[in-house]
Symmetry: C2
């Protein structure tokens, strides 16, 4: 087998969810692509890895020192939605329903994986709140054990700012989910938090 | 959303089987990789695309003018296995059962897709056979309509060399396949070509 092919298959199969068969398929596909298109792709990867920054305010990915969301004067700067990772910002932005700012923690507290609060951008969040002007912090963190730990840790730290309302995103049955297939914890929670029908 | 991230997601999602969600996941994973590892990966892709050649004899991928299989004196140069694509060579090599040479057509004849015999490396195969010394040509081509068309075209062209035995790989029930789930054509073929149990 060609050494060049072996190398590219070896490198591509280091990526998550890409095994040797998929890597081989991708490599052979690239042979059928124009050399310039392949060059465009690798250049965009290199530039992204080398040049992308984290927003100095919210830790979201950004091409500038401050991301376009934080720099947007039209958005509600009194509301901060705290999420675990960059992908969560994109998911919420895709709904086009949220007009506040974000704060990307960069993970959750996990003693098992050796992730302490100081490994996350929690102090940066506290600095933002301490500067004043924040009316609400929305915690949009996963319901895993680590997520809950992180949530309580944040609640505790935010308690020193009684003027700031701290909320958590609603848990319940997803639209389109069939009750039959939803886990019991979610159903129990959804029942407990039932709402009057108007 | 970061322009750099947008670019890389756009480029990666041009690859087959990679949608925007997977592309985003891959891009964010690359952020957690060492910059040098990402550089190694993009360099291996660029080198592969620019430098890989096709063997002048069998059309397999090769780093040299002639591939290591064709250059190997230990292999049986009197037997040529004709396959559609590079991946097929790798599949057969992985069995470690075949010691002859290969010939990669680069596709199958397909009037629907505008692929004529002249678009495939068929003349190169005929040159190899015409040079003499070939005792057997094994056709390992898929059983699609296009594959069968290609098979009959090759049979026809090879007929001018009556000293060359032309064979086709055996069709039948795969090891581990359950009869219940095998298509009828394969079962009918496997029944017709039944063998005495020794």
């Amino acid at each position: 087998m060609s050494k060049l092919l072996q190398d590219v298959v070896g490198e591509l199969s280091k990526l998550p969810g890409i095994g040797r068969r998929t890597a081989l398929r991708l490599a052979l596909h690239m042979l059928r692509m124009e050399p310039e298109s392949v060059g465009d792709m690798t250049r965009s990867i290199d530039r992204f890895r080398r040049e992308v920054k984290h927003c100095a305010q919210c830790n979201n990915l950004s091409d500038e020192r401050v991301c376009p969301i934080c720099a947007d004067r039209e958005r509600d700067h009194a509301t901060i939605c705290v999420v675990e990772q960059v992908a969560d910002v994109l998911s919420i932005e895709n709904t086009h329903q949220y007009k506040g700012l974000y704060h990307v923690l960069g993970g959750v507290i996990s003693p098992m994986q050796g992730i302490a609060p100081s490994d996350l951008k929690i102090d940066l969040l506290m600095d933002r709140v301490a500067r004043g002007g924040v009316k609400e912090v929305i915690l949009a963190i996963s319901t895993s054990v680590e997520g809950e730990t992180t949530l309580f840790y944040l609640l505790n730290r935010l308690r020193q700012y009684p003027e700031v309302k701290v909320t958590s995103i609603a848990r319940g049955i997803g639209f389109g989910d069939e009750l039959e297939y939803v886990d019991e914890l979610t159903i129990a929670h959804a029942l407990m938090n039932r709402r009057a029908v108007e």
